[in-house]
Symmetry: C2
Subunit: 490 residues, 2 copies
């Protein structure tokens, strides 16, 4: 360890470019400059620093300023101070986040050049994957106005720890909105706010703390699911140790008569995801009967219930029996997935356990966004936005149907005129190659097979799931053209 610094304080200001600039006091600036000099390797480990007096004189600062800066850096571990040996640069701190790749002995001479991460993959040219609304249609002005109003009106306690049930303003607004728009029957005290559908599933099925009230999860399996659905949800269930039993699908929706000893069933009654039909009225009644008889519960995933284009949406299944259905919705399709806000409408007996699973305080959903959404719903802006998007998506769907009729009349669009996606039937055996061809052409979409439960007893055949809401308005025409290009010939 060589003593490279024998009272040559000048070098600090000169060679080492010690500049006392930037915000804060002289002491803060000196501390920063010294820290940077050690970090960058300009001050090598073991280097002895000049006495306070010398450096203070050199830099034109008080002696205490230097003493404080040294003490600071000793406390942080950059410098060491030992009686009789003065203040030195500590041995060994890595120089930079990229230090792990440098060879020993070399690192202190290298300037800080972080290893660049590989750039994130660019998106496809045409995004027709299901699941997201048109991001360019987010109602920025109306939403910001609601946010501002809500924050101005909020009581102080709203900025403290949040109630895990969610803000009362939002639960009240949702109670009224869901009754009016979706036929949901509830009260604010039976609504629990969450970050979206996946969060709701976690709250219901995760095993929770070993000793907490939610030990073992609020719900248990086996869980009936539709033979086609989101693989992401199946992964969540697998992670929670919940066995899923796929129900066959036919033209009336899920075959709920296949339900037996399951403890719960997850359904998309308004618009089966992704195959696209509504659950037949008799099956709606039958699944409620099953739940009552078995003491089971129906999980209603109302993921796009607001968007039906041919008629008024079918009301929520929850309305048939609020004590047998857990109704889950979110703003992810209707407004934006960037907000991370959803809701669970719960039977009375699950309110306590779900709140226990959520914890003592709101740990997830932004309370300020909750306040804004409450205002947005109450002032009618949410209805206006949904109406506007309904028209826009309806036109999108019409354009998809028209494009296919003109350019690929043998490809049928199935399912009801609803939601943000459509299913295109393909000739048997052509799905896989079509999805592949689409990828090659920069068209992102999924085949039906991607949604099939591995143990599904039946198959829905070959088909494409086309999300027509995702592209922005100006990009949609080109996306449709690209789609028609990759469809298999008759």
């Amino acid at each position: 360890m060589t003593d490279t610094w024998v009272n040559s304080a000048e070098r600090i200001g000169a060679d080492l470019h010690l500049e006392l600039s930037g915000p804060g006091s002289r002491r803060a600036a000196l501390t920063r400059a010294l820290r940077e000099a050690v970090r960058s390797g300009r001050l090598a480990p073991g280097t002895r620093l000049p006495p306070y007096r010398s450096l203070a004189a050199d830099l034109g600062v008080a002696r205490n300023t230097v003493a404080d800066a040294y003490a600071e850096l000793v406390a942080e571990g950059w410098l060491t101070a030992r009686q009789g040996s003065g203040t030195r640069v500590a041995a060994g701190p890595a120089t930079a986040p990229s230090g792990q790749g440098a060879r020993p002995g070399q690192r202190h001479r290298q300037p800080r050049t972080p290893v660049p991460l590989p750039p994130r993959a660019h998106g496809p040219r045409h995004n027709l994957r299901q699941g997201t609304p048109d991001a360019s249609s987010f109602p920025r002005t109306a939403w910001t106005a609601s946010y501002r109003r809500a924050l101005q009106a909020a009581p102080s306690e709203a900025f403290g720890p949040g109630d895990p049930a969610g803000r009362p303003e939002l639960r009240q607004a949702l109670t009224e909105y869901l009754a009016r728009a979706r036929g949901v029957r509830t009260e604010p005290d039976r609504i629990v706010i969450c970050s979206g559908f996946a969060h709701a599933l976690r709250l219901l099925f995760d095993r929770g703390t070993r000793e907490g009230p939610a030990a073992g999860g609020v719900l248990r399996g086996p869980l009936g699911v539709e033979a086609y659905g989101l693989g992401f949800h199946r992964e969540l269930f697998a992670a929670a140790g919940v066995r899923t039993v796929p129900l066959p699908l036919d033209e009336h929706g899920a075959r709920v008569d296949a339900l037996g000893r399951e403890r719960a069933v997850l359904l998309t009654p308004a618009h089966q995801f992704p195959t696209g039909g509504p659950l037949h009225p008799e099956r709606r009644a039958a699944v409620i009967d099953w739940a009552r008889t078995r003491g089971a519960v129906v999980l209603e995933d109302d993921y796009d219930g607001e968007f039906r284009y041919d008629r008024r949406p079918v009301g929520a299944l929850q309305g048939l029996d609020p004590e047998r259905v857990i109704h889950v919705g979110s703003v992810s399709k209707s407004l934006s997935p960037a907000l991370r806000l959803g809701w669970m409408v719960l039977p009375q007996r699950y309110v306590g356990p779900v709140l226990a699973a959520k914890g003592e305080r709101e740990a997830w959903a932004s309370v300020l966004d909750q306040l804004a959404l409450a205002d947005f719903v109450t002032c009618g802006a949410y209805d206006r936005h949904v109406r506007r998007m309904r028209q826009q998506y309806r036109r999108r769907r019409d354009r998809l149907v028209a494009a296919l009729a003109a350019r690929a009349p043998h490809v049928e669009v199935t399912g009801i005129a609803a939601g943000l996606h459509a299913v295109l039937r393909l000739p048997p055996g052509t799905e896989r190659s079509t999805v592949k061809a689409a990828r090659w052409q920069g068209v992102a979409l999924d085949g039906l097979a991607a949604f099939r439960h591995p143990q599904a007893p039946t198959t829905a055949g070959d088909g494409l799931v086309v999300g027509y809401a995702t592209p922005s308005e100006h990009a949609y025409e080109a996306a449709l053209e690209a789609l028609c290009e990759v469809l298999p010939p008759e």
Copy 2:
């Protein structure tokens, strides 16, 4: 089943108060009114509804309007339609969320009177529990201005599905802020945004999906922890199956020399929580050495690093070795726990696994609040707020110390002048009765014992953890008086 409805359409409008009012079309209004009549029990199960024609004439609407309304309610399961038997009220739907308590045969006569939930418990009169900033000091105006600016400037894709790493604007802003204010060395690509500290712990330790890349968790136990800490965190570890090994605490902080074969250690180096001392510089260096030698990692909980009142805060431990420390912070103490925003600054090798644990899209932290925070930090409003609160909390701490000096000079305030809480030493054997007495007097606070690890090898003695930031400014004086009242005599 009696046929109570033989073409007496008039009763719908009269006895049943069918009013076609409210928003939307006549059909929508009729559907709503009929649904409500069934729900409330005014139309009993089995009741036959009048033919379209009669009801249409009675209400002055088109016949199709009635036909559509009936079809809607059949689809929802409220009504049944069978060839030759007309349209009838379906059997069996429960009448209201409160229906489960009603005796059979009685429920249709009962008006909808939901069982009221027990009112939420009222808070204590004086809240001196640690952990939350003064909610009444939230900078509503500046924050709303940032929110508005950020939403106006945001690209459209910001309103689509979010990058699980977090918004680039925020990661950039934090990279600069944390370097400046906390001595953290990182790049935006090594920051992952989360909902707060507990979320970070879940991302690091939860076992994740069985087959996902995070199977088994990003980090494993056994995990060294400080002998005193948040019980909530210990519960999280227990739920994740992570064994915790308590490290003794002395006047220099955690005894990191007790670390052995642990895979990771969780520390609060700037300000031990809750006992209140900083980690000694030699121990800072020692724990980094341990992590390097063992291939282990240090979790730095920088929960209140911005708030030090006697001197400049000690820089983050992370600065000593960014490849051996995971630095976790949030706005929960500095701004508000209602925002649900935090960050993890990760060694390179953990970035991929943490993102894999988080999932393909941002499922938690509000992307819009992220944008707002990026603006808030970049424009300097965050610094201004922290400065303002630092002064306020410092005054609060001074007032606490002064009140004790005047009224209970035998009760010592320990720990450094920092953070949002102080520890009051109590005579041996008096902690439990003091906490109890405080509760009786409406003063919420915790004793040190509430934070002790069950297997802690040592005890920190009797003491109270007093959160002096929680009360609003006008309530603080009364809270201090109430506190002094319950302290044990000399």
